[in-house]
Symmetry: C2
């Protein structure tokens, strides 16, 4: 791709480092910013730098938060004997949006991945175990991805948690509501039959 | 949408102002930046602010350029009697990438649009006419969009340019190479028949 200017090339290259944004889209965004008021670009740049510099994580559950302890962990209306373990803050948001869960969370900050060199020490596993050791928690719900790495992480955690005697469960896997069987992969269909649930 | 932090909300809102990026994509980008090294975010922010502050436009053709006069306008290998009039720098890039055009360009910086309050004075029309008045240019190729506003602009320019006696042409409209007739709109097919060209 030919660029009319070093400044444009530099901006395009930086934007194209973001996930799912290619150089063509990046160039379109750059030309958009050039047409807009200069203030807009500065607001955008400030917001990004501010975000990265001042972001804080809840010291209980490690989710993104403005305060030392996030609103979920601080709330008196949540079931404090239930902790849902997720990979990322975006999973917390996804579950919160359902309004179906009233327990607490624990954000691992990733999953075990030997290929990417991520071992147990890089994840928030120690702090999860010390939360359990306080004796308040009765059940852990594992809501990690159903990929190879995700399953490995679930297995590792389950082994660690078992020592503390807390009940462990996992989110249900099966056919999504409203989905047609014919468009589902065989793994999901197979598992939904093997792990069928009693009709109420 | 619920945000875990004001910083995240602010960054998402600023990113979502960009064209074709919604709040969900913006949140994904924000969470990506938070996972990456802080330096990456600062490089991105700096590139954007630098771009917007220091961008320059060629004083001849008004295309984006690092120098006072862009490489196309400065080149001795271009046909200086030919000027292609386009809406935007991205059109210059698109035509340059074809390697089929050896003339010069003139970037209008937009098209006439009464609805958006863009009149002839907001566009680089005066400078086009003064380039013509030097007598070097023999032909103007209009390569503006085939929308209502684009056609109006072409019509307006053609009237202005006629006074200077320079030949005026327009890029060919028709069926794109490799396209099937059955998937084309009627306007394009109709025009491609009315304005058919002699078989060589």
């Amino acid at each position: 791709m030919n660029f009319p200017s070093k400044l444009v090339e530099n901006a395009v290259n930086e934007i194209a480092k973001l996930p799912s944004i290619g150089k063509k889209t990046a160039l379109r965004l750059v030309l958009h910013l050039l047409k807009e008021n200069e203030l807009n670009t500065e607001l955008l740049a400030d917001a990004l730098v501010n975000l990265r510099r001042n972001i804080r994580y809840c010291k209980e559950c490690h989710s993104i938060s403005d305060q030392e302890v996030c609103s979920v962990c601080k709330s008196h209306h949540r079931e404090r004997e239930l902790i849902c373990v997720v990979e990322d803050t975006k999973d917390v948001l996804a579950i919160e949006n359902t309004n179906h869960y009233r327990g607490l969370y624990h954000v691992l900050g990733g999953i075990l991945s030997p290929i990417h060199g991520i071992g147990p020490d890089q994840l928030n596993i120690e702090s999860l175990l010390s939360r359990l050791s306080l004796g308040e928690v009765k059940e852990i719900i594992l809501a990690l991805p159903s990929t190879m790495d995700g399953e490995t992480t679930s297995f590792y955690l389950a082994k660690k948690i078992k020592e503390s005697g807390v009940k462990i469960s996992s989110i249900a896997r099966g056919i999504p509501l409203g989905s047609d069987l014919e468009y589902m992969d065989e793994m999901t269909i197979g598992r939904s039959i093997v792990r069928r649930i009693a009709y109420e």
